[in-house]
């Protein structure tokens, strides 16, 4: 009996509902159509919101892919050495970053125009963090320093010509939290750079990076438990730091004994055995 109820009722209801919609003159119950009308409005609003969310996720994914490629490109850079093509790599990377800004982020800024930027943060956050990782890595290779939030923000202000011919500025807001999380990712890349640069015969970079990572690690530690996402990344950061510290240690102790070209092999092995984990 309950089963019959359950199966038949919804059908009847939709039929009834269709009738109401088909001939509006024959509205049986007044309040009936009122509820449906209210929900019709919600339908449009919800769909619009979900569509926007999906589009932003898509843009964010593209940003992630492009940023990852930029990072891979940058890893071909050999810091400190005179290797040919270093400038070319940096220029290529710069072009790529410009492209991400002018195509992807402009589209993102347009989608978010007039919205509460935090409403869709979950959709855009992965791409944004990856981008911050890429651009800060680029900046580090180019200037040997940490890019500031202001610097990142500066690139994400767009001017566009509106329909009325007026110039408008669109700003894609970078929250400090995303910046911090992007920096946490950067440390993994720096660890790889430190290891790689020894292979290129550069024995200074690991020390510089070691110092850099220590400062970042200290700073993040002092922030305490305020950020949930950051805590997750702290473990990886600690491992990266240990790896670089061990590398510097090996360099320091054995640097004078072992021929340079063998150094890389020595602590590639020592580093990877103990801390075999994938750092992104």
């Amino acid at each position: 009996m309950a089963g019959v109820n359950k199966e038949k009722r919804p059908e009847e209801r939709t039929k009834q509902f269709k009738k109401v919609n088909d001939n509006k003159t024959k509205v049986v119950v007044d309040e009936n159509s009122a509820i449906i009308k209210i929900f019709r409005g919600f339908q449009g609003e919800l769909d619009a919101k979900h569509d926007k969310h999906e589009r932003l996720v898509k843009i964010s994914r593209d940003v992630t892919i492009d940023s990852k490629r930029t990072i891979f490109l940058l890893h071909r850079h050999r810091d400190g050495s005179d290797r040919e093509g270093n400038d070319e790599i940096l220029n290529d990377a710069k072009d790529k970053i410009k492209e991400i800004q002018n195509i992807r982020f402009l589209a993102m800024a347009e989608e978010l125009e007039g919205e509460d930027p935090y409403q869709f943060m979950r959709a855009i956050s992965p791409g944004m963090q990856e981008y911050i990782e890429a651009i800060s890595f680029y900046y580090y290779l180019k200037h040997g320093q940490l890019i500031s939030l202001k610097e990142i923000q500066k690139d994400l202000v767009f001017s566009k010509t509106g329909e009325d011919g007026q110039n408008q500025t669109l700003t894609l807001n970078v929250p400090p939290i995303e910046y911090l999380l992007g920096l946490a990712d950067l440390t993994g890349e720096l660890m790889r750079l430190a290891i790689n640069s020894v292979g290129a015969g550069n024995l200074e970079t690991p020390y510089k990076i070691c110092e850099f990572l220590q400062i970042v690690y200290d700073a993040f530690n002092s922030y305490g438990n305020t950020l949930k996402d950051l805590n997750r990344k702290m473990g990886t950061l600690r491992q990266s730091l240990r790896k670089v510290e061990n590398a510097c240690y090996t360099l320091h102790v054995r640097g004078s004994e072992i021929p340079k070209h063998m150094l890389a092999d020595v602590f590639m092995a020592s580093g990877d055995d103990k801390y075999a984990e994938d750092v992104e």
Partner: protein, 227 residues
């Protein structure tokens, strides 16, 4: 300048930002706690409708809860003043559940008074928020819908208690209302989120009320005014 100095400066600056944000979060939590307290009081007042003599007390309960809603409006004002422009969704999690509950209670009051579904504007007015996010502190559509789903559960309970109290007309009225509400929700394309999950529970509320109506009809207790 030494790179490590700029580094430290950057992180100190960020720390200042984080501390300010944490302070704000605490203030928000404080304000939300007050709202939740009043919300519980309203809920208590409205619980009276489930008691045996409750149906007679409906006007009184509605009147009392409307008085308490006045307090809520003031408390919402205090909360909304704390939120910087365009950061509603950054801290949304803090008051989401309170607003959902308030939307539910407002919807219940309106249903008891008029037997109508509360519209968003009315809900916003009672709670003391805006409808459009452009106008400031608003009620998110998802939260309002969440409130309606809570209303469905409450009404299915009321249908049972109405029968106990000897009011056989009310379950029918509730049944048709929930039917409408369900077909309304069916119009929405819900994502696989909390709202969808809560919506999945609506069918049990509908079923419960249908069973009550069924029990009444096979015993000839259904009022004959029905066409």
């Amino acid at each position: 300048m030494d790179p490590s100095d700029t580094l430290t400066a950057t992180f100190t600056e960020l720390q200042g930002y984080l501390q300010a944000e944490q302070q704000l979060r605490e203030d928000i939590r404080f304000a939300v706690r007050d709202i939740e307290q009043t919300t519980r009081e309203i809920q208590k007042v409205l619980q009276a409708i489930h008691q045996p003599q409750g149906l007679n007390k409906i006007p009184l309960a509605c009147e009392n809860s409307r008085k308490l809603f006045k307090d809520v409006q003031d408390q919402i004002k205090i909360l909304s003043d704390k939120i910087p422009a365009n950061q509603y969704y950054k801290y949304h999690d803090h008051w989401k559940f309170a607003i959902q509950r308030l939307a539910f209670l407002a919807a219940l009051v309106i249903f008891l008074e008029t037997e109508q579904l509360i519209d968003r504007q009315t809900a916003a007015d009672i709670i003391g928020v805006k409808v459009a996010k452009e106008d400031g502190f608003h009620v998110d559509l998802d939260d309002y819908l969440m409130g309606l789903l809570q209303l469905a559960s409450e009404l299915s309970r009321l249908a049972v208690n109405a029968v106990i109290a000897g009011d056989y007309a009310r379950p029918l009225q509730i049944s048709s209302f929930l039917g409408e509400l369900e077909s309304g929700f069916r119009l929405l394309n819900l994502k696989n989120d909390a709202l969808r999950k809560r919506f999945d529970a609506l069918k049990y509320d509908v079923k419960k009320v249908e069973e009550v109506v069924y029990d009444l009809s096979i015993r000839g207790l259904k009022p004959s005014t029905e066409t």
